[in-house]
C-alpha cells in the first residue's frame, strides 16, 4: 500500500461525502447526503429497499455518478478525472450482492487478475497473494474450481478475497448476504467480522442487524434517499430518535 498519504489523526476522514445528490431522470435517489468515515471505522448502512443505500456506496467508487455535492477519498475528490477514479478505485475494494465473480475464470484466476493487470505483479507473486487471502477466507482448497461450482457462501468469500488481493484500504459491501441461503450467511459474516477485527475501514450495506450491533462503530439509517439518522449502535438500537427509524427497527427485529 502507498503510505505516502499522511497517516494523520484518526479524526481525519478517509471518506468524506458532502451534500451528495443524485437523480435517475426526474427521480431523486439521493437527497443531500453527507457522511464522513474515519480510518478504521466500520459503518453499517441500513434502510428499507429503494432507500438509496446501495446507490450511496456505489457513488464512492463511481459505479454510479453523483450529480451534485462532493466525494473525497483520502483527500482526493471523485470527479470525472480518470486518474483520480483509477487511484480511488485502487484504494477501495467492493463486494457485491450477487458476487459478480468472473464465471469463465478459476477462483485463482479471479483473484490474480486484478493484481497482475492493475498492480503489475508477477504471476507467482500474485498467486502467493491470492492463496494467502484464500486461506484467510478458509477456502484455499477451492482455488482450481470455477465459481459456479461453489456454493453461494463460498462464492461470496472468494469475492471478498478477490477484493482483498487489491490490498485496499477501504472495503465496501453492498448487501453481501442478501443473495445467500440462510445457512451460508454466517460463514460470510464471520469472514467480515474477522476483517473488521483486523482494522479494515468498512462500509457495509446490510439488513443483518446482529452484525451491525456487534461490529459497527456507526450505524446510518436511510429512507427515501435521505440520511434519516446515524449514531453508534448502542444509541441507534437502544434509543432511536426518529419515528421512521423506530418503525423500521420494529419491523426488521420482529423476525
Amino acid at each position: 500500500m502507498t503510505q505516502s498519504a499522511k497517516p494523520g489523526p484518526s479524526a481525519d476522514p478517509v471518506i468524506r461525502m458532502s451534500h451528495v445528490s443524485k437523480w435517475y431522470g426526474h427521480f431523486q435517489v439521493l437527497h443531500d447526503v453527507s457522511l464522513d468515515v474515519r480510518k478504521g471505522e466500520r459503518v453499517v448502512v441500513c434502510g428499507p429497499s429503494g432507500s438509496g443505500k446501495s446507490t450511496l456506496i456505489r457513488c464512492i467508487n463511481r459505479l454510479e455518478v453523483h450529480q451534485s455535492g462532493q466525494i473525497f477519498v483520502k483527500g482526493l475528490e471523485m470527479t470525472d478525472n480518470v486518474k483520480n477514479i483509477d487511484t480511488i478505485r485502487r484504494h477501495i475494494g467492493m463486494v457485491f450482492q450477487n458476487f459478480n465473480l468472473f464465471p469463465h475464470l478459476t477462483v485463482l484466476e479471479n483473484l490474480t487478475l486484478g493484481p497482475m493487470l492493475t498492480r503489475q505483479m508477477k504471476k507467482s507473486a500474485a498467486e502467493d497473494l491470492a492463496m494467502h487471502f484464500l486461506r484467510k477466507v478458509r477456502i484455499p482448497e477451492q482455488s482450481g474450481k470455477y465459481p459456479l461450482q461453489l456454493s453461494g457462501g463460498q462464492q461470496q468469500r472468494v469475492a471478498i478475497a478477490r477484493s482483498l488481493c487489491m490490498e485496499p484500504e477501504i472495503m465496501l459491501f453492498d448487501e453481501p448476504t442478501s443473495a445467500l441461503d440462510p445457512e451460508m450467511i454466517k460463514e460470510v459474516l464471520d469472514t467480515m467480522i474477522e476483517l473488521a477485527e483486523s482494522g479494515m475501514t468498512m462500509i457495509v450495506v446490510t439488513h443483518e442487524m446482529g452484525f451491525a450491533r456487534t461490529v459497527a462503530d456507526n450505524v446510518v439509517f436511510m429512507a427515501d434517499g435521505r440520511k434519516v439518522e446515524s449514531g453508534p449502535p448502542e444509541e441507534f438500537f437502544g434509543n432511536p430518535r426518529e419515528e421512521r427509524t423506530r418503525a423500521f427497527l420494529d419491523q426488521i427485529l420482529k423476525h
Binding site: 478505485r89 459478480n100 468472473f102 464465471p103 487478475l113 493487470l117 492493475t118
Partner: protein, 370 residues
Amino acid sequence: MSSVPSSPLAAPAAAAYDPDARLSALAWLRANLFSSVWQSLLTLAVAFVLIRFFWFVLDWGVVNAVFYTTDPDVCRAATGACWAVIAEKHRPMLFGLYPYDEHWRLVLMMAIYLGTVVLSLWPRCWNLRFLVPLWIVSSLSIGVLMFGGVLGLRYVPTSEWGGLPLTMLLFTGTVLIGMPVAVLLALGRRAPLPVARGVSVVFIEALRGVPLITILFVAVNVFPLFLPAGVEVNKLLRITVGIAIFFACYQAEVIRGGLQAIPRGQYEAAASLSLSYWQTTRRIILPQALRISLPAITNHIIAAMKNTSFVIIIGLFDILTATTAVMQDPLWRKFYIEAYLFVAAVYLFFGYALSLYARQVEKWIASGRI
C-alpha cells in the same frame, strides 16, 4: 397455417427423448411410430416413400451405376449413375485452372492446410508458443506451394488458382479477417462513444441490407477506383476481403447478442478492480460473450463456407465454378447430376465436420474445460 400450433396440443413432441419409452423396443415402437391409427398410417406412408426412394437410390446409384470407365459411351449405355465422371474429371473439378502438372503442389498444400487447422482446433495445442510458429510455417509453405517462383517451382499467378484449395483459402481468409472486424464492429456498436456507435450501426446495417453479390461487384469493379493511380491490389485478395467484411457484419450482430447477455455486475466488478476498458473487454467481457454466442457464431462460419461459392459470379474458379466449367464437356455433360452431387457432398462433409466440432466445443465449455 392454422394447423401449425396444433402440435403442442395434440401430441407429446418429446416422446422420442423420453427415457421411459426406451424400456423395450416394442414399447418404443408403439410410442413413436404406432401410437394411434392415424400415426400408424402416417408411419406406413412415410416408410413406403422412403423405401421407394432408397430402392431408387440403390438401383440408380449402386446396382446399375458405372463406377469406373474412361469411355463416356459405357456410361450412356448404363441406366444408373455414372460415377466414372468423377474419376475422370476429378482433377479439373478439384483443382480448377491450376497447371495440370503442378497439381501435386495443391495436394501437398491441402494436407498442410488441413493438418494446421486440425491442430489449431485441438485444445491440447492451444498455446500461442506453438500456434504462432505453426501458422507462420504453414502459411509460408502454402504460399510457396501455391505461388511457386522459388525453389525451382514454376510461378503460378493467383488468376490460375482454383478448385478446392481456392475454396479453402477464401474460407480461411474470410474467417481470419472477418472475426476481428466483427469483434470491433460489435464493440463499436456497444461503445460508450456515440460516434463509434453511429459508424458501426450504419456500416453493419448497410452491408447486411445488400446481397453479397453487390459487395463482390464493389470489390471487383469499384474498389480499384478507390485507390490512387498506379496502386493495385490483387483481385483474389479484394474478393476475400469483400466476403470477409460481409461475414463480419453478420457475425458482429451475433457477438453483440453475446455482449448484451453479459450482466452489468461483470462490468462493475471489473471497474472495482480498476481494470481499464480494454482490459475489461479482453479479459472479462469478450471471453464470456464469445462463449455465449458460440452456436450462432458457428452457424455463420458454416454460412461463410457456403458463401465462398458466390465467387462463381465474378469468375473465380472455386470448386463449384470449376465443376460447372468441366460439365461443359459435351462427352460428359449428361452426367452433371453425379458431378454436382459430388460437390454437394464436399460442402456437406466440411459443414458437418464444422458443426460436429462446434458441438464438441459447446460440451467443453459446459464442462468448464475451456
